[in-house]
Amino acid sequence: MSTAPATAAAPAGAPPAPATIAVRSWKAPIAFAVFTVISIVLFFLVGRPDLAGGNPTTTYRLTEARDAIQLPPLALGLAETTIVVTILMAAATVGAVLLARAAIRVPVWLTTIFAALFLVGFLTWAAAGATVPMIGLLAGALTVSTPLIFGSLGGVISERVGVVNIAIEGQLLGGAFMAAMVGTLTGSPYAGLLGAMVAGALVSFVLAAFAIKYVVDQVIVGVVLNVLVLGLTSFLYSTVMVPNADTFNSPEKFQRIALPLLSEIPIIGPILFRQTVIVYLMYVAIVLVWFGLFKTRWGLRLRAVGEHPTAADTVGIDVRATRFWNVLLAGAIVGGGGAFFTLAAVGSFGKDMTNGAGFIALAAVIFGRWDPIRATLAALLFGFATNLQSTLSIVGSPVPSEFMLMLPYVVTIVAVAGFVGLSRAPAASGKPYLKA
């Protein structure tokens, strides 16, 4: 084990790579320029012709009626906000171009500020003349993201250990089904959550058995498992749950719990700390997965198996066992996220109720470059886009809702195509390990 810190420290202490490679990447400046042009078109050429006269304002409500500390709502005028935002965005674009010319990578903070600017401008434009409930928007986004985050955490673990997990969708759906079933039979949502984790692990078990023991292509198994779980849950839903909904499909839901003190922090409190137990578990899971992957022996072994199984085998790590148990763990985490659908959101199971969330989680894994924190952020982004769409459709926005819903997928393609920076999968992900 003494070699591990040394090898881990080596890249950190080494001189930064760009010094030797010196690649001028024009991807960020191009992306910046595209978004700046989009802003100019939307804000000034399209504008809001539907709003008659004057300069409409967008009101951001920052507190809810029940909050102890009340903040005044923030009112932004459409004209001045969009002008300021667009000028700043143009400046950022120029900055990015200069950086690219000097062969310096555009720093993450600049991208973040740019994205935030665009968002403020877009929101102000889209919701002009109306009130945006910021707390509801952000808290809702967090809620919508919950299964995506669980899914992407499981995906990260599974892919880091070297097994591609296309079956996230199936694990979520299986978890949702089992959570409703067990939750109703036992009368306890906690038992339902446990059942959901078992269901996710079961799906993972089939994935692991076929991928690791029978060396079947992992993508094929994953795709087939999604179909299988969809078929099984739909079949059992029709034959078992529908005729006896009271005995099998009416679980008690998790209630929102406001954490004392924390939930009274202005803005942050109501968003983060007035959620269900599943969301609080999610916070714990994110931290644990990050810490486990990068700070413990377990994580080091897991990553070694996913990056270079032969080397891991040589130093005495049982590659197939490591893969098997960690894929099971990943399934349990995803399955727990599936409980969100039946125990927190809807309150009963329905056919195909995950509706592609697993595929979005998969996209978050790749968008987040196989890193638990980044994957979480990506999942939050997708959740935010979804919730923004529903919020804007309530306030009445000029953008067709379909295009808002399309956004996460477009962003993912752009990310996968390499505009967000080089994304590198764990080297041995998807490859079965056959001992010579």
């Binding site: 058995a209 992992q218 098997f324």
Partner: protein, 424 residues
Amino acid sequence: MSDTTQTTPGAPAPQTSPANPPRSNQMLKEILGGSAAISVLAVVLALVVGGVLVILTDERVAETAGYFFARPADALGAAWQAVSGAYSALFRGSVFNYATDRGFAIAIRPLLETLAFATPLIAAGLGVALAFRVGLFNIGGRGQMLIAASAAGYVGAYVPLPPVLHLVVALVAGVIGGALWGGLVGLLKARTGAHEVIVTIMLNYIAFYLVSFLLRTPGALQAPGQNNPKSGPILDSAVYPTLLGPQYTLDIGFILVIVATIYVWYLLNRSAMGFQFRAVGENPHAAQVAGIDVKAVYVKVMLIAGALVGLAGVQQVLGTFTGGFAAGLDAGIGFDAITVALLGRSKPWGVFFAGILFGALKAGSFTMQSAEGIPVDIVLVVQSFIVLFIAAPPLVRAIFRLPTPDGGFQWRMPVIARKAEVTK
């Protein structure tokens, strides 16, 4: 910026050292490797699993199982009743309705119904299979179908043309639409190394929302003077003519699909381009060394695959939903096509017969639901088990105690449930 060194995200990254053939190559071997016997046994096993599921959820069985040890014959009889009822309904609904007394013309209708259900499955299956042969995994059937269907549907419903010409133009428009949507995947794969699995999944959703938007936008696809997100009816001049008279749903699309199967067979086995396709599928590095432009092959194969899947989308619009279509027109065919291609081992005629088998399951499932009250979803279960068993020949061999061929695999443990072996 250097495309060759950039790692493709996701599963089968073709960047291993030239000494080892890449993952896509092994995947191909798995798909093509098994024998016909394994396929038949896989279907039998999957039907057994389906039967077990029917027994477990049957009410009569549940009642009689309560006193199983007192009178086991009751429970066994009920189980037999459930399974035989289910599978005879499946037969009546998919091959020959022996129960009817209205003559042969009615009794044979289920078989033609099966062929009608099989038509889009074969077309889409060919598209997926062709991509498989190059080592690409085309999960984008749904998106390619939707785009193709929208293009064909727009021409078919809103662009009046003379009779035969109209049908041809609508068909061509749809096929081109599918080809472009598929070709986009090939282009992204070739230019940026983006993994086709992710790109196709994302393009499915983008196509779905795009078509949903078009379907509720007057002047685009929405029927004039309507509020539903649904297109107008296809004009008579663009509707596929039926083959055997109006009492059967089988239409000219089936002939088109036969032609497509022959074309794919010719393409893969007799043409220079097909040789390149297969070479890239076997080993892209070797193909590159041999002077084949691998990137161009990726784009070409996805164009053709998209066109084939697009044919399935056109079938849905001009053949099935002629009264106007909604965003759910793909009816899961884009995903079923993956299982069809796997069952057909990605060979053109294999896909053809696999498509007919799945068409039969689909046609029969409706009779099963109406006659025996078994939800149609059981077909999904049977289908996925078929593919799982086919993908893991050692498992099927172990269950039936078949001898292992002289391959690299030696499996002693008979059941997958014995995970102790896996973990060692």
